[in-house]
Amino acid sequence: MGDHHHGPAKGLSRWLFTTNHKDIGTMYLWFSFAMFILGGFFAMVIRAELFQPGMQLVEPAFFNQMTTLHGLVMVFGAIMPSFVGLANWLIPMMIGAPDMALPRMNNWSFWILPPTFLLLASTLFMEGGAPAFGWTFYAPLSTTYAPPSVTFFIFSVHVLGLSSIMGSINIIATVMNMRAPGMTYMKMPLFVWTWLITAFLLVAVMPVLAGAVTMMLMDIHFGTSFFSAAGGGDPVLFQHVFWFFGHPEVYIIILPAFGVVSQIIPAFSRKPLFGYDSMVYATASIAFLSFIVWAHHMYTVGMPVAGELFFMYATMLIAVPTGVKVFNWVTTMWRGALTFETPMLFCIGFLVLFTIGGFTGLMLSIAPSDFQYHDSYFVVAHFHYVMVAGAVFSMSAAVYYWLPKWCGKMYNEAMGKTHFWISFIGFNLTFFPQHFVGLAGMPRRIPDYALQFADFNMMSSIGAFIYGASQILFLYNVIATIVAGKPVSDDKVWEGAEGLEWTVPTPAPYHTFETPPRIDPDHVHS
């Protein structure tokens, strides 16, 4: 039994053998940033190839591998682990728990990831090349017509799912069981709420993804015919199973981001979050609806019209709870006393750009129009608005907001603001023109395009390089802060910050809350 006051061990073994939620959170965060760079590197290859019409740098087959790995690495390697990292750092501190509920399993959930992504990346060097069938890996392109590396891809997905499931079970157990006395559900910070609901989504859909890849494996190696009409199966079956996972997945990506924004906007508005209860209900509604809208990715596969209508109506409905969230955030800012430190800037950027992405989502949900939008760059623009400006911006905001608490040092504000503005401009320059080319008829996942799309594509590539370069600034700023930032000593780093994590010393000690904190019963919520 460990003595309760041990600090971190020294050297590599600290990280390999740790059971400390802060260590594990840190590892998740750094790992996800590394994956962001890798996925971003793939994106840069894509944008460089698309800089001009004609084949420039890579062969079509390799281009498809880039697109596929970019999507996979960003979604499973960068975004999801980054929010799990945040959850690890923050949930115990926010609910007054000493650690996660199942600390050893927590470490396992993390350590599965690096070798698995190494395996996935190593497929690039295998015979036949890496998976080249898109991050959605539709059969039969991903079965009968796939390169041998698909087998490694399938097993990687299995263990990534295992990691996510264990991570989520841990979060559920922590939130349900480890809250400090008096921390009722309706007093939990919204970040904790959104993660709790996200964890439910993960436990529900990751096994379904495992089922989908298992069927692929059987079709490829054991002669079954799940996705082959000749044997009585159906390629579209794959899409149903995939999107039953895939659609909730996109909310898995965005709900924790909603949580982050709901923590930061009130802090810099110096005013409590507007409509806490309705935020909770809206999150739950979004999660519920996410299970019954999956086929909006499949409007063109030839479903019966009744199915088409059902999925269209259900999808449109998601605008209502999401709208509630947007309105609540805006109303939180209303008549506050706003300041615009970097985290707040990223949140405002999030708010504007995510809403635009939401609007294009709503346009996509209109089935007849989607016949024109589907699989065009309009879709690419939509999901980068919600995923980059949604998830990545909110992640940047979170890092700037909590970094001083984590390492006890203040980042350079001027550099942070510069990072924001370059990102903002670069991002829009990259992805706004993609709406135009998409509407004009440019399909996605192509390495080369017709001449009328040339100008906007060049613009988009330039924007992408700008956006990418701005991340160097981010990386530099974070490292400079950790190494040589100006120390902060206030427990409460930000004037308007609320919540238990701001009551512990700065930097947060290795073990927090060895005795449960007192929760003021009259306080509405954190």
């Binding site: 039994m1 600290r14 053998f17 059971t19 400390n20 509920a101 199942l102 600390p103 050893r104 470490n107 396992w108 993390f110 350590w111 070798p115 039969p140 009968t144 017509y145 087998t151 490694f152 399938i154 097993f155 263990v159 499931i165 079970i169 559920i172 069981n177 480890m178 400090a180 006395p181 436990v203 529900a204 096994p207 379904v208 089922g211 989908a212 298992t214 069927m215 059987m218 490829i220 190696h221 054991f222 002669g223 079954t224 015919s225 799940f226 082959s228 009409a229 000749a230 044997g231 009585g232 199966g233 159906d234 079956l237 149903h240 199973v241 019966p304 019209v305 060895e514 005795t515 449960p516």
Partner: protein, 323 residues
């Protein structure tokens, strides 16, 4: 299990740093790397090239299983040493519950597949329904029934296969569903249903036994449960043999074979897991003298798992064999 109060809260056990996670990771990654290589050799490989895939796989698997074994051992030791607070025990309960839920969702994917194939795809391929109106152009003469009498490809003949490179499928000769009434006693799934349902009862009796502190009763009924689990697996194996050898039903038998073997196969695998879990609990009780009336979580978790496996079977029996 008592509920959380603030007095119980103060003693929270933060485990020391531990090698378990890293060892489990190494084992897991080696075994998936090995498994993937084995399959690739099988499908794409050149038999003249020697391969060390099996070595890697078995090594990884051994390491993995050994680590898991050690992991549970550690957890049990900690519990016996009295290190586990009521709160931690509750975390274990929650963990097991949500783990079983994730397993439910895994089976949900396959049951959903069965439903989709039987209710929608089959008729479409036979040219029925809004989405299938024109499919008779491709699969001239294919009639749908469940189980299908032919695969679509057999209906049109291999030579004029409308889709390139789909592999070739044959249909089964006999269905696994309930046949003639006179043969009900030969019908293994029925026996298996009886076996598995009773095993749920016996494991419950064992539970009652331990709650009463009656270790003898507990051991006896737990042993019976494990035995029933083994019998179930044996009968299942006999049935598979029948399917392959007598009924011509294989993984290659089109969608009927695919869904049949995947559903029953994964179920069988889970029975094996559950049976192993219960067996370990039995050994713990017999050899280690573990479990008391108010501390027997290892057994409880295994028994929940067993009930879950049982419920899945009920759905299987209904949707795979009866309907």
């Amino acid at each position: 299990m008592t509920t959380q109060t603030s007095t119980e809260y103060e003693k929270y056990y933060v485990p020391e740093k531990s090698r378990l996670a890293i060892c489990a990771t190494i084992g897991l990654v080696l075994s998936i790397y090995g498994a993937a290589s084995i399959m690739n050799d099988m499908t794409f490989g050149d038999p003249s090239q020697p391969s060390n895939a099996w070595t890697i796989f078995l090594l990884g698997l051994f390491f993995f299983v050994a680590t898991l074994f050690g992991w549970f051992r550690t957890a049990i030791k900690e519990n016996i040493a009295g290190m586990n607070s009521a709160q931690l025990k509750k975390s274990y309960v929650l963990g097991m519950f949500w783990f079983i839920f994730s397993e439910v969702m895994f089976f949900f994917a396959f049951f959903g597949t069965l439903f989709y194939v039987r209710v929608l795809v089959g008729p479409w391929l036979a040219g029925e329904g809004e989405a299938g109106r024109m499919n008779h152009l491709l699969w001239e003469g294919f009639q749908f029934s469940w189980p299908p009498a032919t695969t679509p490809q057999e209906a049109v003949g291999i030579a004029s296969q409308p889709i390139a490179n789909n592999g070739s499928f044959t249909s089964q000769e006999t269905s696994m569903a309930f046949g003639e009434v006179s043969h009900w006693y030969h019908w293994l799934p029925l026996w298996n249903t009886i076996i598995l349902l009773s095993s749920s009862v016996t494991v419950h009796i064992a539970h009652m036994g331990i709650l009463d502190g009656n270790k003898k009763k507990f051991n006896l009924w737990l042993a019976i449960t494990v035995l029933l689990g083994i019998i179930f697996l044996y009968v299942q194996a006999v049935e598979y043999h029948e399917a392959y050898v007598q009924f011509g039903l294989t993984l290659n038998s089109g969608i009927y074979g695919s869904t049949f073997f995947m559903l029953t196969g994964f179920h069988g695998f889970h029975v094996a897991m559950g049976m192993t879990m219960l067996l370990i609990q039995l050994l713990r009780s017999l050899k280690g003298g573990h479990f008391t009336a108010d501390d027997h979580f290892g057994f409880e978790a295994s028994s929940w798992y067993w009930h879950f496996v049982d419920v899945v079977w009920v759905f299987l029996f209904l949707f795979v064999y009866i309907l």
